[in-house]
Structures are given as C-alpha cells and as structure tokens.
Amino acid sequence: MQNYTLLSKRRLARNVCEYKIYAPLVAKHCKAGQFVILRVDDDGERVPFTICDYDRSEGSVRLLVQEVGYSTIKLGTLKEGDAIKDIVGPLGNATDLSAYKNICLVGGGIGSAVIYPQAKKLFEEGAPADIIVGARNKDLLIYKEDFASFANEAHFVTDDGSFGEKGFVTDALARLMAEGKGYDCVFAVGPLKMMQAVCELTRKAGVHTVVSMNSIMVDGTGMCGCCRLSLGGKTVYACVDGPEFDGHMVDFDEAISRSLVYREQEEAHLCRLRREV
C-alpha cells in the first residue's frame, strides 16, 4: 500500500499552509491546472485541491491549503512525517493558455495557489505575465517573492492597504486595462465573488477570461455530478470538463448558491472539531 507521507509543511500565513506530499502516481503525469482529491484520515471526506507545484523525480506534489473547514483544519494538525490517508490525481484538465500572447494572471486569497504554476510556467517559457495578487491583508498574501520574480509586472493588493495597493484585485485590473495593457486573456482564480467581479469587468472590455471553479466534489472523476455548474445554459462538471472555464459563460450566482449547500452542517461540524482540537 502506498504511504502518502507529508514531506514538508510550511505555514505561509495564519491559516494557510504549504504541504509537500509524497504521491508518485499524481506527480508522474500532473500538469499545471490539475487537482487532487485527498482524505485526511480514515473517516475523512474527499476534498479537492489544485496542484500548486510538483517534483517528478521526488514523486511529490505541493498543495496550498487554507484552513477554512473541517478537513482543512484537520490537515493542519498533521506534522512532517505523518501520512495522509488518501490522495488521488491528477484530476481535471491542464490549463491551456497557449493561444494567448498577453496574459494577466489574477489571484485572490488562496486562489493564488492556482495561478502560481501558470506564473511559473509562463516565466520559464520566457513569456512572463502581468500578475495581480490580492488578499485581505499583508499576512494573507502568499508567495510574494516568487510572484515578483515570475512576473513581467507584479501588483499586490490588500483590502486594508497593509501591503501594496489598498483595494481589490478588480481595482488593480481595471487600472491596468485603462492604462492600455491590451491583455488578450485574463486568468482569474479566487473566491467565487472575486471571479464574478473580474468577469463583469472584463466582459465590458471584451477580454477573454478564464476562471478555475472550486466546486464541492465527491469522486472527482465524473461519477457523481456534485460539482456541476451552468456554462452558457449547459450543465458541465468542474471535475472532468474543467476545472477551468470561460468565465463569461459561468453562472456565478448558481455556483455561489451551490457552494453554500452544506454550510449549516459544516458549521456544526466545525464546532465539534474545535472542541476536539
């Protein structure tokens, strides 16, 4: 039986950890944009995470996890050398921005983990993108140095102005677009409301926008349909048809509603976990 050992764990922000996990079957073929599903322990639920980076020779993948719910908080209690119960992947499709020449990557909060491999890839291909990374405050901004080195132009934005510009990623994007950057593609990943706001902005300007949908999933292979969303009036599955879609076609209001379906149960669960931990 495989042992999915936690090779390293680094706390990047108060509630964000970076994990390097031994998972050779995932590392073997994974590409930027794909995700894994993991279960922390024997009773764990199946939770999807985008692969942030990987090392094929070591057989490891890197994940960035924000402790927001039951499973992510439990994951946060593991130490280096501990084993994660299950990890499967790579799932979903790889990011393909090859058709675009002038790209702006926009990451909000933990969504920055999803633009990270793309930022790195474009940098390594000699076509670094403009990058906007936003968070609520300075402590929640992740990979500042990496993004600064990968970017053509890096822009940091915080809600409270504790680092970089004060405001939202959409403020920075609107300004850059107004300055005539002439982007032919925006790749925006973050909270659903952020992606929706970016899409509203770029739709008016007619700039193609790709978003990554972090739907609730169970199997992640197209078996259950839990992650379905409406794309231009058609139902698609984030797990096998995505996770990336044309943002201008996504029904965000429906996606937001679907993301909240288990909120009450999750909260009850969290209360119990807080008593345990």
Partner: protein, 457 residues
C-alpha cells in the same frame, strides 16, 4: 417433500428496518437451510444451471448442504463464482436460476437457490481451497475493482497469472462499495470477499485513475494484457429546468455519500441532505436503493415513474421492500421542472401525468404526456436515478478503443476490444446491468486472456 413449500429468508420487520442501515434479509438458519436444501430434486439435467450467468453447479452445492458439509458447498460454488456471499444477496435469482427451477410452478415454488448460496458463503469456515499454483508466465493489469474486475482477477490469479488491480476510489469494490447500500449488501461482506480475492495473490492499488494517473499504453509496457472493468459511472440527469438547485442529487452522488463516505452515520465528515421530503425519480434497483436510504434518513419519500408498475425495472423484492418501508409510488407521472426557492434550494417538483401507448424498442409501452395534467409535489430534495453510462475518461485517454453509441467499449463475445491485448467487460461494455452479468463477462475475458497467452503461461 414433494409438496413442501419454499422457505423464505427471515427479514427484519419494516418498522425496525426503517430506523437502521443494518441488513434487512437475515439469512437462513441451519434448520431452514437444511429443509430448503432437501427440496432440491437434484435434477439430472438441471435447468437452473443454464440460468446462471457463471454456471454455478447448483444441485451439487445444494447436495453438500443437505449432507451438512457447508465448506464443501462453498468450495463447489467458488469453482464458478468468485463472490458468492455477494451474489447470494444481490443476484436477481427470480429471473435467472430460480426462474428455471422445476419446482417453480406446481411444487411449492422454486428452491431458494440464492438464499442457500448466501448460507453456504456466509457459513463456510474457510475461504478458498483453490489456491493458485506456481506463479508463471504473464502479468495482467485490471482497471477498476467492481464485480467484473474482481471476477476476472480471481480467475486469472487461480491460473497462476500475476494480477494487479487499479482502483480510482480510496476503497475497492466499485459499485459494491459505493452503490449498493449496507442494508442490502453489508460492506463487511464485500470486504471479506475482496480479502478472499487478495488471498489468491491479487494486488489492489487504490487511488489510481486510469486515464489520468496512469494510461493504458503505459500499463501495456509493464503488463502483458489489460482488462478494463471500469463500470458505468456517469449519471444521467433529467434535463429539466431547476436540476442544478441545491438538494438535487444524482443517485450516484446520494448513494456514494451514504455508502462509500458513510454520511448516514452520526458525526460523519461527509455531509448529506437531511430533507424532510424527498422525491426519487426512476424505478430501477438504484431508485429503490435511493428511496430506501431516504426513508432511513427520516424523509417522507415519493418515488415517481413515468410508466406503470408492470414496467418498473427493479427486482420485485426491492419494490415490495420499498413499499413496506413506506415509499409512496406515484406512477405514470414525469417531472417537467424542479422548483426552487429564493435561495436556490429545492422546494418541489412539477410533474405531468402520462399514459401508456404502444410498446417501444425496449418492448415496454412508451409513455406519453397527458396535456393539462400538471401538478406539484412539495419536497426539499430530488434524487435522479435514471441510469448511468460508461465513464469517458479511459476512451478519452486512448482514442483507438472503439466505443458504441452510449460510450460503451466494443468487445467481441470473449471481451476482446479493438486494441490488441486490451480486454473489457461488465457495465463498461454493456451499460448499467447486474453484478452477475458483469462477473460473467469478467470470467469470459479471463478465459480469453488465458487462451490468447497459452504459449506464455
């Protein structure tokens, strides 16, 4: 003996079973098993055997039970059936072996073959005496760990083949693990049968999605042949407005949350809707399973079906049990829309009444909507159980595999696909069917593999 009536298996009363996911059918006692075994006439040319998709030597194993040799009975079953404790529970015996029993019409009813198979499998002390001979020759990769795959793997392993099974989920068993509920097929029984297959030397690698983690081409570099038993996992939806509202589940999702993830247990990490009122759409075994789960989760449960009772595809026993447990059947009705509230949650289903016309290509009378007959049922959750089709992941990663109209892999009668050294069987080739049909296909493919590689073994 001639007129002795068929013995039915004891079962939990409906009033008790709706409060628990424990198994409903309790199995024969020794006394019942012995008396029922005595009813077998040990026909010289037993028609029952011809009704079994894997050809279990039925009169022979029943004779062993008669003589009190339960281990011997189980050994005989296992010569042809790798998963008897499972088949004894979920096979549709009434339309297979038991349908052909000479006692059926006039002699007190068919012998309860399924119940006796289950008795032998559950009560034999040893697992398997047909341990594999020396390892030799070839290596085979098996994709998926459901009934077709397990059956193929076990037969190959017995012939001395080194078999590695790749399962996408974190638990082996395929539909036996995620699909069929505990009260019909306890997961402990599934685990025991899988241990049994592993005891033959079969290795099972979990969390490996073929077509994503590894590719068939790649497997062919390390293995002499590949068997694809990846099932029919892709759910069908209704295609009506409101289907993405919160509270609408595919039966696959609903059952997976319950069976694989244990969402019905107190304190489970995986959540599930605890709706007060549930509407299940469809009338197959999966629809019955879903409805019976909903009842156990405390819901007032309606099952809606566009044809009449006579056309319901579920086993008669499942239909009866669902009804006994309080599932309300609304027949000759079809959903036209799922209704939601302002927060995107289900608040009901709008349906239209149907009438039956001429038989269609499936031989069943085709339903037609009755204009102006729309009505609503209030509910907070809708479970869509309209069948499944094969998962396109494997085909997408290996386009040279020929597929049929519904994405089923095309195979010859022995399970050979269009790609050399690649075999397939079960729901992946037929679309959703039964456990025993899949097992039969797995066995045929194993036989074909052994024939095709005869020189190397």
């Amino acid at each position: 003996m001639k007129d002795a009536k068929r013995h039915e298996m004891p079962a939990l009363p409906a009033s008790e079973r709706i409060k628990t996911f424990d198994e409903v059918a309790l199995g024969f006692t020794w006394q019942l098993a012995k008396e029922e075994a005595e009813r077998c006439l040990n026909c010289k040319n037993p028609p029952c055997v011809s009704g079994c998709p894997v050809g279990v030597r039925i009169p022979d194993f029943i004779a062993k039970i008669k003589s009190g040799d339960i281990d011997g009975a189980a050994d005989i079953i296992r010569l042809d059936n790798n998963l008897p404790a499972i088949c004894g529970r979920v096979c549709p015996q009434e339309s297979q072996c038991e349908a052909l029993c000479v006692r059926k019409a006039k002699l007190g009813g068919s012998v309860a073959i399924g119940a006796l198979e289950r008795y032998a499998a559950d009560n034999s002390a040893r697992y398997d005496v047909h341990a594999p001979t020396a390892r030799a020759g070839i290596k085979v990769a098996v994709v998926g760990s459901g009934p077709a795959s397990l059956s193929c793997a076990a037969d190959l392993a017995r012939a001395g083949v080194k078999v590695t099974v790749f399962e996408a989920l974190h638990k082996a068993g395929g539909v036996l693990a995620y699909g069929i509920p505990q009260f019909r097929l306890p997961k402990e029984v599934v685990a025991r049968e899988i241990e049994n297959v592993k005891a033959l030397g079969v290795e099972i690698i979990l969390n490996a999605v073929i077509g994503k983690s590894l590719f068939i081409d790649e497997l062919l570099e390390d293995f002499d042949a590949v068997f694809i038993g990846s099932g029919a996992g892709l759910p069908s939806f209704l295609g009506v407005e409101g289907e993405n509202l919160n509270g609408v589940y595919s039966a696959n999702e609903y059952l997976t949350r319950i069976n694989l993830m244990g969402a019905y247990k107190d304190g489970a990490a995986t959540p599930i809707s605890r709706a007060k009122r549930v509407v299940v759409v469809g009338a197959g075994n999966v629809a019955m399973d879903s409805a019976r789960c909903a009842v156990r989760l405390g819901a007032e449960t309606h099952l809606v079906y566009r044809r009449s009772r006579a056309e319901m595809p579920a086993r008669a026993e499942e239909i009866e049990r669902a009804e006994e447990e309080g599932v309300k059947f609304d027949l000759l009705v079809n959903p036209v829309r799922i209704l939601g509230d302002e927060n995107g949650n289900v608040r009901g289903v709008r349906l239209i009444r149907m009438r039956l016309g001429e038989p269609d290509s499936s031989g069943r009378r085709s339903p037609h909507p009755v204009e102006g007959s729309e009505f609503e049922i209030a509910c907070e959750s809708v479970i869509v159980a309209l069948g499944t089709t094969p998962n396109p992941l494997i085909k997408a990663s290996m386009p040279s595999l020929e597929t049929g109209r519904k994405g089923t892999l095309i195979v010859d009668e022995d399970g050979r696909t269009s790609v050399k050294k690649v075999y397939a069987g079960g729901d992946a080739t037929t679309g959703a069917a039964t456990v025993i049909m899949a097992m039969g296909a797995g066995k045929r493919a194993a036989k074909a593999i052994l024939e095709d590689f005869r020189g190397k073994i």
